[in-house]
Amino acid sequence: MILSIVDSTLLLGSIGTVAAGVLFLVSKRFYVYEDPMIAEVEEVLPAANCGGCGFPGCKAFAESLVKSDDISDLFCPVGGNDVMKEVSVLLGKEVAEKDPTVAVVLCQGACEVRPKTSLFQGPQSCAISALVFGGETDCQYGCLGFGDCVDVCDFDAMHMDEETGLPVINSDKCTSCGACVKACPREIIEMRPKNKRDLKVFVGCLNQDKAGIAKKACSVACIGCAKCEDICPKDAVIMKDNLAYIDPLICTLCRKCVEVCPTHSIIETNFPPKKVKVNKTENPNQAQA
């Protein structure tokens, strides 16, 4: 009885010793040195693993930050300048400073201003329907409305508005990781600079059709009349393919263009209410009349 206990103890003990020896040798032989800095930098990063920096996750980004000599072209959009400053302090390298951005949807084609002319029965996905046709409405540039962008948002910053059928972005939650920009087959989501009060003026339309066709498909489409270009004191409006685009780097947010736009396709956000705001609430009624 006792003997069997001794036997098994000896046997297991010797197996354990041999295994420990092998493990010790292997760990010495195949030891991989990892810069402890990588773990420290990773600690600073937001750990969102969103891929907004262009690397597969925060760890890969941290590795790249530590290993490359020049990191001025690397940027974490989620952490922004604060995080990059901390990284700079940790690594003692120069980092780029970027203005914070936020995603905006360049389409106002709600159901009532952009009527549906056909029905898609296949899988409810923007990417799949975009393979087959130009969308359920007559505008082949605007939102398809199946919410691929909302599905990819890791930060709960987007939802589909059930009334308008368009995605809505919560500027406070948006980290500008850019996942929605990549997910949209129509490329209607754009990153625009986010200033202190999140004031924005932009053309909420991508329709490149001629005025009549665009207006017929959607009553708030940009018809390329160039009135905004004429009135802009800073030449921030670029006209191309029957479409206006406001360059956010030049625009001084004077809002003169918003007032002259005949189809109300220029959007202003978060400005304090004044008479322009009153006009805006009247738009739907005018459109209906």
């Binding site: 029965q121 899988p123 799949i128």
Partner: protein, 442 residues
């Protein structure tokens, strides 16, 4: 035992309601809309301007490269607009709008070409004629024919296959053409054999078209090199690779072309177009279109000018009946639902199918029950349920390793799935992404 391809395949209800209807000529439309992208490859370049007067058969858009094709004016008239219009792809493309000259008699003359058997042209001349006449594959793929016929030195082609299978339900355009233009088709085959120095040609026809088999056998009696093969009825036999396997038992390698196994395949419609181009110098400006549907008043086959609005066709057969859900460009299996009926007939339009609410509505998609019906019917030997899951979940590398690119998009898997899963939709999506990744890599 009749020949057929060995792997997979289905047999949907045939519904060939227009099989006995002779091809009628559609009245010349008042306005034609000619898109410049009617073929696979580079879109053609417009060479006319607004207010130009054009004659029938005049080149209005010239080939934009090697894999491209000329486009000719289907009517005599005036170019009124060069504009973006929705075509059968569902997207807006550049179109040439021509108003028909109502006074020009050339528009209203019945084209009457007597059978001309004697082939006078040389090899190079024939190929040049085919290229100039804007001939593309009329089976539906619209691949420019001169590219198919341009043999590279290391490819030895010993057999010409003529595709008269028409395995899509409802469609009868090729069937009627074989019945009415059998002699011309035989001459067309002789032209191709002469131009390519091929000594063997086989016309493949499914056994549900017994009359066409008989007529073509009689017509082919004058040339011993041309044979007619009756095939068992099975979808998708009209697919190039399946047809080669069925008749010649040769297998086209993955990513390869029929040329690699010494075969060239042409549709009967294309062969007829080649006959007209070579013997009568007539470019491709019209084609046979079946307009059909169970509830349509008077379904028929028509000779239709390219660019005719589909509206005109539907009006001719009695308008869109009540309870219609979809108007499909092509057959029910591989055709594509149209966004509206203003889109024009193009070189690839083989049929217009009007389907009702109960035929068209999609059932709710349920979880896969692992019955593997889709695997059994896949003619390419793929695993559709696996490919769908890989595409849905974004494993594109794996999907590529499972040969997603060899899928011919016949839709047999979606047809048999008892859970009504949208297999083909996702596979098509996966294919597009894999192709995009491939081009990005190169």
């Amino acid at each position: 035992m009749l020949k057929t391809f060995p792997k997979g395949g289905i047999h949907p209800t045939e519904n060939k309601i227009t099989a006995a209807k002779a091809i009628k000529r559609l009245p010349v439309p008042k306005v034609v809309y000619v898109p410049i992208a009617q073929h696979i490859g580079i879109p053609s370049e417009i060479i006319v301007d607004r207010k130009d007067n054009v004659e029938i058969g005049q080149v209005i858009a010239k080939s934009g490269g090697y894999v491209s094709s000329n486009i000719h004016s289907p009517v005599a008239g005036t170019v009124t607009k060069l504009d973006m219009m929705v075509d059968s792809s569902g997207y807006k493309t550049q179109c040439i709008v021509i108003r028909t000259d109502q006074k020009n008699e050339a528009n209203f003359q019945e084209p009457d070409f007597p059978l001309k058997r004697e082939i006078t042209m040389g090899q190079k001349e024939i190929l040049q004629h085919i290229s100039d006449s804007g001939i593309v594959g009329l089976g539906g793929a619209t691949f420019p024919s001169h590219v198919k016929l341009d043999l590279k030195n290391d490819n030895k082609v010993d057999c010409l296959l003529i595709n008269g299978v028409e395995c899509e339900p409802y469609l009868t355009a090729d069937h009627r053409l074989m019945l009415e233009k059998a002699d011309e088709i035989i001459v067309g085959i002789q032209i191709l054999m002469h131009a390519l120095h091929i000594q063997e040609a086989v016309i493949g026809i499914e056994n549900n078209k017994k009359d066409a088999i008989r007529v073509l056998k009689d017509a082919a009696a004058i040339d011993k090199r041309i044979k007619v093969a009756a095939l068992r009825v099975k979808y998708p036999q009209g697919s190039e690779k399946q047809l080669i396997k069925a008749i010649l038992k040769r297998e086209v390698p993955i990513g390869g072309l029929p040329m690699d196994v010494g075969v060239i395949v042409h549709n009967v419609g294309t062969v007829f177009a080649i006959y007209q181009a070579v013997q009568h110098d007539r470019p491709l400006i019209e084609r046979v279109v079946t307009v059909t549907g169970k509830k349509i008043e008077n379904p028929s086959n028509f000779w239709v000018k390219i660019g005719t609005p589909i509206n005109d066709l539907v009006e001719e057969v009695g308008g869109i009946p009540e309870g219609t859900r979809k108007v499909v460009n092509g057959g029910p299996m591989m055709g594509k639902a149209l966004k509206n009926t203003d889109v024009p007939v193009t070189k690839g339009t083989s049929g217009i199918l009007v389907i009702s609410e109960e035929e068209a509505s999609r059932q709710e998609s349920k979880p896969c029950i692992r019955c593997s019906n889709c695997v059994f019917v896949c003619p390419m030997g793929l695993e559709p349920q696996l490919l769908m899951n890989l595409s849905e979940k974004g494993f594109y590398e794996k999907a590529k390793a499972e040969d997603i690119l060899t899928c011919i998009e016949c839709g047999s898997c979606s047809y048999v799935c008892p859970s009504h899963r949208p297999l083909l939709d996702y596979i098509r999506f996966g294919k597009s992404i894999v192709k995009k990744l491939e081009t990005a890599k190169n």
